[in-house]
Amino acid sequence: MNSVFKVSFAALAVAMGTMAVQPALAHHSSAGFSEDSRVVSGTVKEFQFRNPHSWIQVNVTDASGKVTEWSVEWGSPNQLGREGIRPSTFPTGAQVKIRLRPELTGAPIGIFVGAKMSDGKTVGKWSEE
């Protein structure tokens, strides 16, 4: 079941401020995205490790059995690659929980925050709450 968690974006902003480089996100304002993050659980359909931004495609099945494909946007592979992310980080077929900032329209689109793989390994800014 999907969970909705609130995170402190003030704290996140402070954390990001300490990084040398602001992660390259979408080519647009963040106004269209929720400041509250949520977690979707599903199966990795594809990890597009390509410029200008990486995308994690995740198939999420709801209680009625309906499958929705989420598009989760992340940084450029150049930058992520130097931080240790690889095309194999999200293998096709892997079970994953992804924390994201969803688009406010309700479309299955989000900005990546963090992830937890089925073996317990975490990526990015993962937190259970």
Binding site: A10, A13, M16, G17, A20, V21, Q22, P23, A24, L25, A26, H27, H28, S29, S30, A31, G32, K45, E46, Q48, R50, N51, P52, H53, W55, Q57, E69, S71, E73, S76, P77, N78, Q79, G81, R82, E103, A107, P108, I109
Partner: protein, 272 residues
């Protein structure tokens, strides 16, 4: 082979070997290689992509609603900036680079994420930004800036510079500014006009940090010179840099009617 032809061959070879050194020595204004500072390696801009953090108000990054900077804009350009900020806050001010076809230009080339290389040679200084990819050339061979008649607006303009000890000083003119609404300084919507002229002083402030201080003059857009400083931290050695094909997988097309940035699904169709 005769003795004469051997001598001719040796003389020719010698001229090839010495050719590069000879070409660098052609202009007395050039600083020789052994007198130039070491800016080798790869670098990353520090502090995010808000162009002028010194005047920033509002918390967050350049795409965060409410964040703005305070250049000494004329009333006309303050009005323009306010319009851009409003659109940014409504998610209707797309980054001009979203069409993946225009350079970042100057001074935005010193305000990019990802990695940088700063290539120092006697005759020219190159800024190579991985993001874009974008390149800037600063000629240091003693040439003068072209006259007004010989200058036309481009994204990165024309730059000539010289070394003052370990500091590179260069002037940039010929910037297109906001003439075509496709050249910005950052995603808040900061722009300059085609009258802008920028003097940059760049040097190492310590072993790991390069600093570029820009004094921006613009008779149309600014009421007084605007000084902005950007810093770059040296990356750990041995990093690989890559190409950056913006059009490779750009899933954020802009609706020209509304300025809204949409998102395409993995099938290339618009996600609704």
């Amino acid at each position: 082979m005769t003795t004469k032809s051997w001598a001719t061959g040796i003389a020719l070879c010698a001229s090839f070997v010495t050719a590069p050194a000879t070409s660098y020595a052609q202009t007395p204004a050039m600083t020789p290689f052994d007198k130039l500072p070491d800016w080798s390696g790869t670098w990353a801009m520090m502090g995010g992509t808000v162009f002028d953090r010194a005047t920033q108000t509002g918390q967050g990054g350049s795409i965060t609603p409410g964040v703005r900077e305070h250049p000494p804009y004329t009333a006309e350009y303050e009005k323009k900036y306010a319009e851009h900020l409003k659109l940014r806050d409504e998610d209707r001010y797309p980054d001009v680079q979203t069409n993946c076809g225009v350079p970042a230009g100057f001074p935005r080339i010193l305000n990019l994420p990802d990695a940088y290389e700063f290539v120092v040679r006697p005759d020219v200084f190159y800024v190579i930004a991985e993001n874009g990819g974008n390149t800037m050339r600063v000629y240091t061979d003693g040439r003068k800036l072209p006259g007004k008649e010989d200058t036309w607006g481009t994204y990165t303009g024309v730059s000539v510079g010289h070394w003052e000890g370990d500091t590179l000083v260069w002037e940039t003119v010929g910037l297109k500014g906001d003439r075509d609404n496709d050249s910005i300084l950052d995603r808040t919507g900061l722009v300059l006009s085609n009258e802008s002229k920028i003097t940059t002083r760049m040097h190492k402030i310590n072993g790991e940090t390069l600093e570029a201080k820009m004094v921006i003059e613009d008779s149309k857009a600014l009421t007084k010179p605007w000084t902005v400083t950007k810093q770059f931290r040296k990356d750990k050695p041995g990093l690989f840099l890559y190409d950056y094909g913006c059009a490779e997988n750009n899933r954020n097309p802009v609706d020209p009617a509304t300025g809204k940035t949409h998102t395409l699904g993995s099938d290339g169709k618009l996600i609704k």
